[in-house]
């Protein structure tokens, strides 16, 4: 078995740091918050200061505390939605790709239909009919989001499964009479790991966007603090036009940072799946010291003049260029 070497590019490391930071925030954020996010006892509209790092809302709440507390709901819902959606796309994708025939036709049609329906409007319609008490339930919201976010992954996984289906080890398992679901989930699925990981990152990314958007337009319970609700209140109190940037910028930046972290991680997975995307692995400095151009141009293979070459066959008096 090949050992898995995850590309260790600066992009991936940065991504890991960002995502790691927000995971810690999800776990510890609520304990670190200096005040309760609902506490309205401060002076309204304070600009950032030592007491209130991110200032206060026009209702006199501490924005820094809201941001810290809001991390948890935002990320937990996105994780639930991402995991459920990935699981769904895995089941649908593998079944369609492995079983083939009518199953494939049916499931592919289903994913294509879900792919063609614009996700957010569907989400809004479903959500607007949800009873108010369900809207504060992370699990319900997560499930609804996952319903609109699984189709893309299913399509990618199906394609990959089809290419795996006829490989030797799968054939072998089939021939010795393994049960179909066992072949699918114990032989095929492990080989889909990179694609599943990429699909998980994407659906989590999508889910953060979807959840925050729902909260922003007031479709989740306003009693649960998340970054979207913060933006909802900011917009509702006209913060953007009254210049209260410190109210809506922190949650917005947090959302963008989490997303950036996830996308950077995904670069690593992309390079793992598609070796053509891997960088040549030399820094600009190394290239210069070897006499290589900064980037290789297609159709102009460079010439290296390196002293550290292994001695080559002494067959013919070597007149290799030495300048």
């Amino acid at each position: 078995m090949k050992s898995i070497r995850f590309p260790r590019s600066p992009k991936v490391i940065l991504g890991l740091c960002i995502v790691g930071f927000f995971v810690l925030l999800t776990i510890f954020g609520p304990y670190l918050a200096p005040y309760s996010p609902d506490n309205t006892s401060f002076a309204p509209n304070l600009t950032p200061s030592a007491h209130h790092w991110f200032g206060t809302t026009s209702l006199g709440q501490d924005i820094f505390s809201q941001t810290l507390v809001g991390a948890r709901a935002t990320i937990v819902v996105a994780l639930i939605a991402g995991l459920v959606a990935t699981l769904l796309s895995m089941v649908v994708g593998i079944a369609a790709g492995y079983v083939g025939g009518f199953t494939d036709d049916g499931l592919s049609m289903l994913s294509n239909v879900f792919l063609a329906i614009p996700g957010l409007p569907l989400l809004i319609v479903i959500d607007s009919y949800l009873p108010v008490n369900s809207r504060s339930n992370s699990l319900v919201i997560g499930l609804v989001i996952s319903l609109t976010g699984w189709a893309w992954g299913a399509r990618v996984i199906r394609a990959q499964t089809m290419s795996l289906r006829n490989r030797d080890f799968v054939e072998a398992a089939r021939i010795i009479g393994e049960k179909r679901y066992r072949v699918m989930f114990f032989e095929v699925a492990p080989n889909l790991l990179p694609i599943l990981a990429s699909s998980l990152l994407f659906t989590v990314l999508y889910s953060i966007g979807a959840y925050v958007t729902l909260a922003y337009i007031g479709l989740t319970s306003t009693s649960v603090w998340n970054w979207g609700t913060m933006l909802f209140w900011a917009q509702g109190n006209n913060a953007p036009l009254s210049g209260e940037w410190y109210w809506f910028v922190p949650p917005g930046i947090c959302i963008a940072l989490v997303g950036t972290g996830l996308a950077l991680l995904n670069f690593g997975i992309d390079e793992f799946i598609n070796p053509r995307l891997r960088a040549a692995g030399l820094s600009a400095k190394q290239r210069r010291s070897l006499g290589l151009p900064r980037r290789q141009r297609l159709g102009l293979t460079p010439v290296v003049h390196s002293a550290s070459q292994r001695p080559s066959t002494p067959a013919i008096a070597s007149n290799t260029v030495s300048t």
């Binding site: 319609v125 009873p131 933006l231 900064r294």
Partner: protein
């Protein structure tokens, strides 16, 4: 053509699913939202309007689900999407006024964004390893910013602080809508900032996708052969780009859905009088007939855009067109 036929079938099916979801949701959700709605409306609107709303949901609940379903579909084909509760006029009338704004805004920004993103992504992929690579993390960051947040920031900086662009609305309030020069000019002025902000939000996606495809295609033999043939650098890049753009177009269906979703919220931020703004007002007022009507219209528009993308794809990739092989 067979392929277009198949896609058309898919979209018809999708439209049917969307319509059915639209019908089923209010009937299946706990708490009987239709009854609640109609109860709330008693006395607020005329009995005729209540009847129209009831019909748009499929008629009386005593009729059975299936019969209600057919009534609903029949009403739909006759253009009865119900009556908006808050605006007390037919949903179809309201949509007719706002759909053109949205199509204009989203159409223009999607086109611009696709063009800019594809061209810059092609260059980025081709010059991989050069200093331009520094753009990638920035682009990734922009891709991760929610559309509405970026729009808000743009509004704050360029609209209310620097006053470079007019904000809020789609045209100057001093003008009367119509095909007059001042009005059209004003509409363009007012669309600038929303377009810029949608393009900024969506361009990174196209760019990064195109970059990956460009790198992948540049490794193909035929690109190397175009170099071996002594073609100019521009021709070589075009050879790669022409092939690399195909997957972008094939994936347009996913992308259109996302862009439309994002752009709808930008309308809200700028008070742009399109369906997005309408939808969010409807949501806040629990104006179910309007929500449903908007959902249907958006879905149909997205499906039409998908079909268009499919036709373009077919025109660009001869391999999908061939049905007879020599």
């Amino acid at each position: 053509m067979r392929i277009i036929g198949r896609r058309l079938l898919l979209y018809v099916l999708t439209a049917w699913v969307a319509i059915s979801v639209n019908f089923l949701l209010p009937h299946l959700m706990p708490g009987n939202p239709i009854q609640t709605l109609i109860g709330k409306l008693q006395g607020q609107v005329t009995p005729q309007e209540i009847e129209a709303i009831r019909l748009s949901f499929g008629g009386g609940i005593d009729k059975g689900l299936l019969s209600q379903y057919f009534t609903y579909i029949d009403q739909l084909f006759h253009g009865n999407l119900g009556v908006s509760i808050t605006l007390s006029s037919p949903v179809s009338t309201i949509l007719k006024a706002s759909v053109p704004w949205t199509i204009g805004l989203i159409g223009v920004s999607t086109l611009l964004s696709f063009l800019i993103g594809t061209v810059s992504g092609a260059l980025l992929g081709w010059t991989r390893g050069s200093r331009l690579d520094a753009l990638i993390p920035t682009a990734t960051f922009f891709q991760a910013i929610p559309y509405f947040f970026l729009a808000t920031v743009m509004l704050l900086i360029f609209g209310s602080n620097l006053h470079w662009f007019p904000v809020l609305g789609a045209y100057s309030q001093n003008l009367h809508p119509g095909w007059t020069w001042p009005f059209v000019a004003s509409a363009f002025r007012y669309a600038e900032l929303p377009v810029v902000s949608i393009v900024l939000s969506s361009v990174a996606g196209w760019m990064l996708g195109m970059r990956n495809m460009m790198i992948t295609v540049a490794a193909e033999d035929f690109v190397l052969m175009s170099v071996a043939m002594g073609l100019s650098k521009r021709k070589v890049i075009m050879t790669a780009a022409r092939n690399a753009v195909l997957p972008s177009i094939a994936n347009l269906s996913l992308a259109i859905g996302l862009v439309v979703s994002g752009a709808l919220l930008v309308e809200l931020v700028f008070n742009y009088p399109g369906v997005g703004d309408l939808l969010l007002n409807a949501v806040q007022n629990e104006d179910y007939p309007l929500i449903q009507g908007i959902f249907l219209v958006i879905t149909l528009a997205v499906l039409a855009a998908n079909l268009l993308a499919d036709v373009v794809y077919l025109a660009l990739d001869p391999r999908t067109r061939t049905e007879t092989v020599a």
